[in-house]
């Protein structure tokens, strides 16, 4: 009688045991990776470094009143300021975003969900989630003057959360908008300053 033995069938390992073994080995490998890797989940986060203090205000120059010249007092035609054109959203990179933070040259707007924002965000950034703009904007509008330079960011360059929020802000009349396209992923990888928690109330 021919003795049949299926090729490749292991008699020592059953299928359920093989599933458990693979799952356990994979899980253990994942945990070890996240302990050892520089950006692993279980690695200590870089120390939260507060942004540098604002530079001292430059002294105001003395007001120089020139002597009146002949012809002064003639009514001059008013200067007509052309109406503002459509807002052009400027894309900025990581270096410029860091420069703006250090110089306090803009207000940062985090377009991610509240969970992502509270996990970590750029210091001083306000959370205006893309998914709930009306409520978030109503909450933060007082801290977002219409003429203030705003830098909007989300997770990375390939998500659309920042673009959605930028569209809403543009519709609200904001004209000085910047898109930090590389987003939070690039900021975190560069180990730049970060804050955690719900942000200002």
């Amino acid at each position: 009688m021919a003795r049949r033995r299926a090729a490749g069938r292991s008699r020592s390992v059953s299928l359920p045991l093989a599933v458990l073994a693979l799952a356990a080995a994979g899980s253990l490998g994942g945990i070890i990776y996240n302990v050892v890797a520089p950006r692993g989940i279980f690695r200590p986060a870089p120390a939260v470094v507060p942004p540098p203090p604002a530079p001292p205000a430059a002294p105001k120059p003395a007001v120089h009143r020139p002597k009146p010249k002949p012809g002064d007092g003639v009514v001059k035609p008013p200067v007509v300021t052309p109406p503002p054109g459509p807002a052009e959203i400027r894309i900025i990179d990581l270096a410029e975003a860091r420069r703006l933070l250090d110089a306090r040259g803009a207000t940062f707007v985090d377009a991610r969900s509240a969970i992502g924002y509270e996990f970590a965000h750029i210091p001083g950034a306000l959370n205006v989630p893309f998914s709930d703009f009306p409520a978030a904007y109503a909450r933060e509008a007082a801290r977002l003057p219409k003429d203030a330079p705003l830098v909007v960011y989300c997770t990375s360059g390939s998500c659309d959360e920042a673009e959605i929020t930028l569209g809403h802000l543009k519709a609200e009349g904001y004209r000085n908008l910047m898109h930090f396209k590389e987003g939070w992923n690039a900021w975190e990888i560069a180990e730049y300053p970060q804050e955690k928690g719900p942000g200002p109330r």
Binding site: V13, A25, S27
Partner: protein, 164 residues
């Protein structure tokens, strides 16, 4: 007792089955290795994605976010090597297929639940690939994402039983 005669149809099927099996294993290996590498490259980004699902206690989320990419990577690696090894060590290949199918079923269920709950989130599956390929752009999860995951489940189904 002797050699069993094999019909032409059975012969054709016996020839096609190893090819279909190898192709399905390669396809799933490519998908899961790519997804795993992306998650391992940016572990904290994946942790944020897990938190956004709002399905796990916050204390448990880091552990799941750490373990899941490791399981995906190992299952993908086993399927990749099994695609070239024929029927040797087939129980491990079938086990990897069950793991892959289980993960896909879980992702599909989790996405469906959150879409019904109205929880806004990104899928968080292929972020690294999404940097270069528009199809994998990590936009908001939609019913199309659920459909995509169900399609990925199809090549796993023939792999769930060891070949006779």
């Amino acid at each position: 007792m002797g050699d069993r005669r094999v019909s032409a149809r059975e012969g054709a099927g016996a020839t096609l089955t190893p090819v279909v099996t190898a192709v399905c294993r390669l396809l799933l290996a490519a998908i899961f290795l790519t997804a795993a590498v992306g998650k391992l490259a940016q572990p904290k980004a994946f942790l944020r994605a897990v938190l956004e699902y709002q399905m796990l206690p916050p204390a448990l989320a880091p552990w799941v976010a750490a373990m899941l990419p490791g399981v995906e990577f190992l299952a993908g690696a086993v399927l990749l090597t099994a695609a070239f090894q024929g029927r040797r060590r087939e129980v491990w290949a079938v086990a990897a297929a069950w793991i892959v199918a289980g993960l896909l079923a879980f992702f599909t269920a989790a996405l469906t639940v959150n879409l019904l709950r109205g929880v806004p989130m990104n899928c968080g599956c292929f972020d690294i690939l999404g940097e270069h390929l528009p199809y994998f752009k990590p936009t908001k999860a939609t019913w199309a994402t659920v459909g995509r995951d169900l399609l990925m489940l199809l090549p796993a189904l023939p792999l769930l039983r060891a070949r006779r």
